[in-house]
Symmetry: C2
Subunit: 330 residues, 2 copies
Amino acid sequence: MNTSTKSSISRELHPGHDYCDINVVLPSWFKLESGESLSAPQINIRIHGSAEHPAVIASGGISSGRIVADTPGEKGWWANIAGAGRAIDPDDFCIIAFDFLPNDGERARGITTADQAHALAYALDILKIDQLHAFVGASYGGMVALKFAAEFPERVKKLCVISASDKAHPAATAIRGIQRRVIEFATNNGNAAGGVNLARQLAMITYRSAEEFETRFSPNVPNKETDLFPVCEYLTARGRAYAMEPTRYLTLSHSIDLHRVAPERIKAETLMVGATTDSLVPIADVNRTALAIPGGRCLEINSIFGHDAFLKETAAIGAAITSVINESEQ
Amino acid sequence: MNTSTKSSISRELHPGHDYCDINVVLPSWFKLESGESLSAPQINIRIHGSAEHPAVIASGGISSGRIVADTPGEKGWWANIAGAGRAIDPDDFCIIAFDFLPNDGERARGITTADQAHALAYALDILKIDQLHAFVGASYGGMVALKFAAEFPERVKKLCVISASDKAHPAATAIRGIQRRVIEFATNNGNAAGGVNLARQLAMITYRSAEEFETRFSPNVPNKETDLFPVCEYLTARGRAYAMEPTRYLTLSHSIDLHRVAPERIKAETLMVGATTDSLVPIADVNRTALAIPGGRCLEINSIFGHDAFLKETAAIGAAITSVINESEQ
């Protein structure tokens, strides 16, 4: 009896709280773009708010996932945007968040934004959600949002994409490629976790801006030769605090660089949002993508927070999202 | 008999060629700013052109050294600027180039731009050069030039500093700090050379600009999952081709971040040159430094080559240097 040909859902209820976790097992016919099958074929989803509300997907950077809003004991990665009284409010919307593939321990490599989109579409089928009211995605989640809207144009009414574009910039690929080679080097030398730590330090530089670093870190040199510079103390602390399975980091980082979308296929009413200081996803690329989407427009946010504007500029980002998903504007 | 209290010069003549190498052993009283003594206390100098000509020091990035001009069998790092018929011509000037401290195998750490300047001043004493006609320095060599002119204001008439400023920018310190931690990590895991390779790849990104990467590298993704992206092929090739002793790399990288100069002490007639796309030494920092030097002015060069403009923009950089060192302008 081959149970894997059937899809299955496991639903974990959290009594007394307004959300549930649903894990959708992908069927055996589900293949990646590469032709490979997943060894851990499951997509983990969290839903806040009533299924009767308009469905809004919220999706973020590679370190984010289904824990988008605060719950008792868990800090949501976008808690200032998704939650009661926030721009994406579970009183008004059925908020859907998900863990990006691959799951920990996955063997398949080369997982693309198209693969994320296809897995998600399958899960929405299972959840009987034919059409999303909106897909709100930032950073990697923004790439997945664009890809989903291009692959399934009829399934998204509104699209809000922040700090993402139609393809990776070669300068960003350059620095992500080094992060991957640092992890591979560390793995080959028996200390993969140390490699992830260093890769994360490097990533942090690309998430913020030179302007912020100048404002934030004293220009003083350390007293002792062995002391770290203030900016290095910050980065090493962030590196230590970070944990992702090395192979998952490699896959998601690579996925960003493999990302290519055809914006002209997108039918959703689209707002692309970019920060003027984002060196990872230059505002010019955000603009170019918006122009190529038939129903697309672009909003530039002046921010010193670079790529991380989607996490830091709550007021501007929240207002942008509201302007897209607000029902009254329909 | 303690011979180390005496300075000594060894002079290697290259018959039939218009240059000689001079290795000045530093005396035992020579101390670093840190208070340490050098274990390999020698500064290696190359001189092109007659000692009767006005003396001009030419100094570049941490990977550069005394081989500034082409000689039979050696490629000069600034061959398009220093040499017969070039902006710094040995028919007109006595060109002095030198290897930065530390020498290979050196044990002392924390070597500052002040230490480079003091060692150099000692060598000039030995060479009986009281005053330089000009100090032309780019990148790290530009920091050393600024420091020398601030420490020995009477010893430099003219200063031409390219892609350098009075102190390191915290965003640049951030990325150099990661290069150092990658090398330290690799050393601790038994593969220091692999760490230098990765650090060099990372450095290359900061030497060029996102604009150049966009122009140069096709946005195509590789056919096979295991293939590198074009920009990654470029970087890995540059990493493989690079060799510097890991501890020397650490010391020189750290030296850049320790660099602090008091521009107001500089008496030389100074031209500061910066490239508009330099993310390592922002043009704003070059400008600020020029403004703080009593006899300082600034030239901005529009270039897509970022920090490497000093190596790539031969016409503009050559003209800038000529405008400073040309005797007729005195």
